[in-house]
């Protein structure tokens, strides 16, 4: 019953969340002007999420019905129809947990924004804990809800006396629910946020040369809404979907060792999850700063402490519960890889390093050279993390086979509660600064909030390293889990025939299609942003043209913020469907079509190759887009800080365009790719038994 550590820790974390929520909520919510702005942001964000979830509800219900009909076995041959019901419900439950975590996290972020702004009047040491704890609510509630939900589903299966494989399929349903919703939320939020951001920047900064977050800009509220629905809710969803998927993959790989270990290895991920939550709680508790403290250092210190505590706790647990010592090594491999990948990635996006500096310098010879230079460094930046993932995979494999890879992936993700807290802190600080600027706060307050905002960027490197490294290892474990799932159905001998060799034509065919999926997905969401932004730019220009006195900032003249929020919302909901649905549907086609044409083996092999291909190009593009986007952003900030002619110079104009190109790279397409390949991996795991069942005749 050691696995109960997970739900118990999850409950503790939910109690902590309630306390932190109470803490944030009781802070001063600012003056009337601040509240007005915050109110407008909240209104827009709520409206968007409500419409998004209502739209997705149809989709979720349809998928639940389809899942219930076909899985774990088609109902017409099902031995126990209650299993089908369970899987459908688990899927719905997973979607609900993911949606709830997003909603709740965003709600507290919106509360946190304005309270941080207000507290900044009393110094940085008052403002920092509000922003950080609001972020922690997001991180801890997502982890808590995820683990608790998964434990409930698993516990019910155990209580019903289900065999482990069936129970794992039902859990896959839960994970698929959480990930599919995350994919939609990420794509939708990403399209929303960048539509608003790009439009606001292009008309405001470039065409009219008015500052960022200027209240005259009709898109400014939509932009702030976007930060919340895209960055907070979406980014949390991204991490959590890897987290749950990686937990499930590790369980499947642990179950494959059941002949020797019984349920012991399958339960290990629960134990790691429980310990990770406890370590994250401690990390959250110790993250604070003194009056003159450096928030960036405090955040990173919190991460290091969390990781160290987790490593120590795991060492004790592994010893006490008599797991092989290698398990601990695999866990630490993941943890170290995450940090190392983060630190090397940091080189490419840090404002103090050559890539950003050279990109800024290239801006002096024009926009095109800025773009080419930034993109080139982005291309180069894929090497260190890919090498890191490759080496971590190899080490983990030699430590404990496929299960070692699964444990390494989950080891990296165990502390995700704390990582998400750090990451959600960023947009909260950013928004707080925006509110201060729009409500006309003093320069001192803006300066303090600027420091908070900047600290968010310094921690981004490490949390991004975790996100990408973890996604890489998670999807490799999903691939391994897929192979194990197949092996468990066809028997070991037949499984050896399925070597997933690169020299197998079906595998290669699958790889080639899989390779195209992440670029295709990126293309569709970015074109969505482009189309949407075109509409919004027209609207902003129209308002400046038609509302008298707006441009001149005449007293009492206000733009029509709601019109922009509305455009972003409608557009995002329209554009998110095709890429997300395609990711699921093509996966199913690749599994069944070659199988139907050339026998189940062809389908299984093509699907395995397809997964691998999607991992390969998914990782490359996720890294390329995240890093080039980040470095364009910082090249612009470097110039804005006074270098190379400063704000308003030609170099600055070029850098602004680079930053705008990078926006959908780093905030729309890039981070969605992790979720996309994760969803594809889960779908493959879900349908593998079905392919075998229907075609292995």
């Amino acid at each position: 019953m050691e696995w109960l550590l997970a739900p118990i820790s999850a409950l503790i974390s939910i109690v902590a969340v309630l306390y932190l929520f109470h803490y944030v909520n009781k802070q001063d919510s600012g003056n009337k002007k601040m509240q007005e702005i915050a109110g407008a942001i909240k209104e827009g964000a709520d409206a968007f999420l409500k419409r998004e979830y209502l739209t997705l509800a149809y989709f979720v219900i349809i998928v639940a019905v389809v899942l219930g009909i076909f899985l774990p076995e088609p109902i017409w041959i099902s031995t126990d129809i209650f299993n089908n019901l369970s899987l459908a419900l688990a899927y719905l439950f997973g979607s609900a947990c993911s949606a709830l975590a997003g909603l709740f996290g965003m709600d507290v972020a919106l509360k946190g924004n304005v309270r941080t702004t207000s507290a900044a009047k009393h110094g940085i040491h008052k403002a920092f804990p509000i922003a950080f704890r609001a972020g922690a609510v997001m991180g801890l509630s997502a982890v808590g809800l995820g683990v608790l939900g998964l434990s409930v589903v698993y516990g019910i299966g155990v209580a019903r006396g289900l065999d482990a494989l069936t129970n794992l399929t039902i859990i896959l349903g839960f994970s698929f629910g959480a990930s599919a919703l995350a994919l939609f939320a990420k794509a939708g939020g990403g399209i929303f946020t960048k539509t608003a951001d790009i439009s606001a920047d292009l008309v405001g900064k470039v065409e009219l040369s008015i500052p960022e977050d200027d209240p005259r800009n009709p898109a400014v509220i939509a932009d702030n809404v976007g930060d919340n629905v895209g960055d907070v809710a979406g980014m949390g969803a991204d991490m959590i979907d890897s987290y749950i998927a990686s937990l499930v993959a590790a369980m499947i790989l642990g179950q494959a060792l059941s002949a020797t270990w019984g349920a012991k290895m399958m339960h290990l991920p629960f134990i790691l999850a429980g310990l990770g939550i406890l370590a994250s709680l401690l990390g959250v508790a110790v993250t604070r700063i003194s009056k003159k403290g450096d928030p960036g250092k405090a955040l990173n210190m919190g991460t290091y402490i969390t990781c160290a505590v987790f490593a120590v706790l795991t060492l004790f647990a592994v010893t006490y519960l008599e797991y092989p010592f290698e398990i601990w090594l695999a866990t630490v491999t993941g943890l170290v890889a995450g940090i190392v990948i983060g630190i090397t990635s940091d080189y490419f996006t840090s404002i103090n390093r050559p890539p950003v500096r050279k990109t800024a310098e290239a801006s002096t010879t024009g926009t095109a050279t800025n773009i080419i230079t930034g993109f080139s460094y982005g291309l180069a930046s894929v090497l260190p993390p890919l090498l890191g993932i490759g080496i971590a995979t190899t080490i983990a494999y030699f430590v404990y086979g496929f299960f070692g890879i699964g444990v390494a992936a989950f080891g990296m993700l165990s502390v995700v509660g704390h990582i998400v807290a750090n990451d959600a802190y960023g947009p909260i600080g950013d928004n707080a600064k925006g509110i201060a600027e729009q409500s006309g706060e003093t320069e001192g307050v803006v300066e303090i909030l600027d420091k908070l905002d900047a600290a968010g960027n310094t921690t981004k490197a490490i949390s991004k390293g975790f996100a990408i490294g973890a996604a890489g290892l998670t999807v490799i474990s999903l691939l391994a889990a897929y192979v194990e799932t197949v092996a468990s159905k066809v028997g070991q001998h037949a499984a050896e025939e399925l070597a997933f060799s690169l020299m197998n034509p079906y595998v290669l065919l699958g790889v080639f299609v899989g390779l195209a999926m992440p670029p295709l997905f990126s293309a569709l969401v970015m074109l969505g942003v482009g189309r949407n932004a075109s509409r919004m730019i027209e609207e902003i220009r129209r308002q400046f043209r038609e509302i008298p006195g707006l441009k001149e900032a005449k007293e009492g003249v206000r733009p029509d913020y709601a019109a922009c929020v509305d455009i972003a919302t409608k557009g995002a909901l329209k554009e998110l469907m095709l890429p997300s649905v395609l990711s699921i549907v093509v996966t199913i086609i690749i599994g069944f079509l070659p199988g139907y044409l050339a026998g189940y083996q062809a389908g299984i092999e093509a699907l395995g190759g397809y997964l691998a291909g999607s991992i390969f190009s998914g990782l490359v593009f996720a890294l390329l887009m995240a890093n080039s986007g980040g470095l364009w952003d910082n090249a612009k900030k470097y110039i804005e800080a006074g270098a190379l002619g400063g704000t308003g110079s030609d170099a600055h104009k070029a850098a602004v365009v680079g930053d705008t190109v990078g926006d959908p790279f780093k905030d729309t397409a890039g981070p969605s790719l992790n979720t996309q390949i994760c969803v594809m991996g889960l779908v493959a795991n879900l349908i593998a038994p079905l392919i075998l069942l229907l075609l292995l005749v």
Copy 2:
């Protein structure tokens, strides 16, 4: 002795080349002004190539020595030291053939340029054959020299009574020589051409709003030189290196069937090469236009005729020489795949299709939306060709196993003589137009040359499809050849252990590193272009600032063209080294380091995975870069043709930046990637026996 068809056809093609050269040479070489400009271009081009080849000579000699020491067996254990000498000489010979084809092709292109301009005064039907036949000299001489050289090397081996495997290793040396030189030439030429192009455009078009090819622009000659050293010499090298590599790969795969077929299958590629040359000659002979003819149609018709003739000849040969009918199917699979890939790629870059139109429309909302939209369509464009390559590979495999893939790849490339003729026609037409504009010809002449230039673009789609499809299949055959090479050394049983499974950690490690190589290479060459362009932009600005009367086009005032040519030359030579050498060195490290640490099997597996990874990301980026670059170019042309405000509008300015970003994509990094992955495949094939020899103890 059927294989002698290849050298005989090659000799015929060389005779044809001499005739065509004579034909081009005897045409009117234009008035004094034209000759002056052409002379300046020739001077710059010769200077560049001379310095490039001299620099590369050191590298080539060092590599030849190293090869001679280690291969086919290290000299300290070599049974016949004459084999080592042969291999080193074959490598040198390959480099020389590649360099010679480039030099000769460029020389005739330079002659063709000005003669086409001059002939345009007498109508399009007079100008067209000159441009096309000058291009044909390039295509046929490259194919002729390549096949003849390879036949000589093979024939010497046969005459010396070498066993087939050793002889194939020596031939690999020849192919490696040709490809490595092509890689350097492609990277160097690509950096040169885009340095000049970007600098000329950014200062000329964007900053000073003077037209393209304006003689006031100090970079205009360098730009024209670049078209020749980059597009003509480089692009020819690109195709020819795939051509020879694919021939060698098919021979290795044919040799693997020697137990059943003797040398018959190994000789098949020679027969296909011979027939392909004959078909190409016929295609060249029938490509002509009437007085009012459409050059684009004529070029495409020539391609279709060549392909049809080749298919028919092959059918006869296969029947007459009693090859299995499946061989013909595999050949045709390659041929059809090439055309289909070309036509689908055309959709994404054609000026009449949505991708280009939408990108042009996006330009009206600014530079950033132009870039995002174009890049997104580029991302989406990778799907059809990847699917095409995947399906062609699968079909070819089922038709005749690995050898089927090799035959399909070479089937696609057999007609490359004609394809290169079409492709080299493009820059010749382009240059002819440039010369007309600079020498102040009448509008009628410029218009005719504009038509010739535009026709080059319409054929580009198909020839690009061939280039990418062929590179894909070629490198897959090189991977298969690598596996066969290993199998032939370790024996079939041990080879089965080396399944190159995606679930093998060394394979995965190799894949991850391999994935990073094409992006890294692209990054290095594009950063090279950026650095170089920055230097040249400063120089152009200086000249406009410091040379009195230059900007105002005062009579007799001329810019210092040579200074720009010099900057481009020095920069290109400096920047081409690191990426090219890295591609070779990392391949060797991946083969030996894991092998050294964990036994030969680890090295062999990691290297196989590495090759596969490089194919995966290499194809994705080659497609992405070629297509997005092409569509940005056409979006600009679409606006220049009068749409969306036409030249000078804000949309046009945005589209010019997009085009400039696309320039190094489509002309520097993109096309070099084919060559890069080809070189990596050849290196892997060369060192595989060495890894086994040194580590299999």
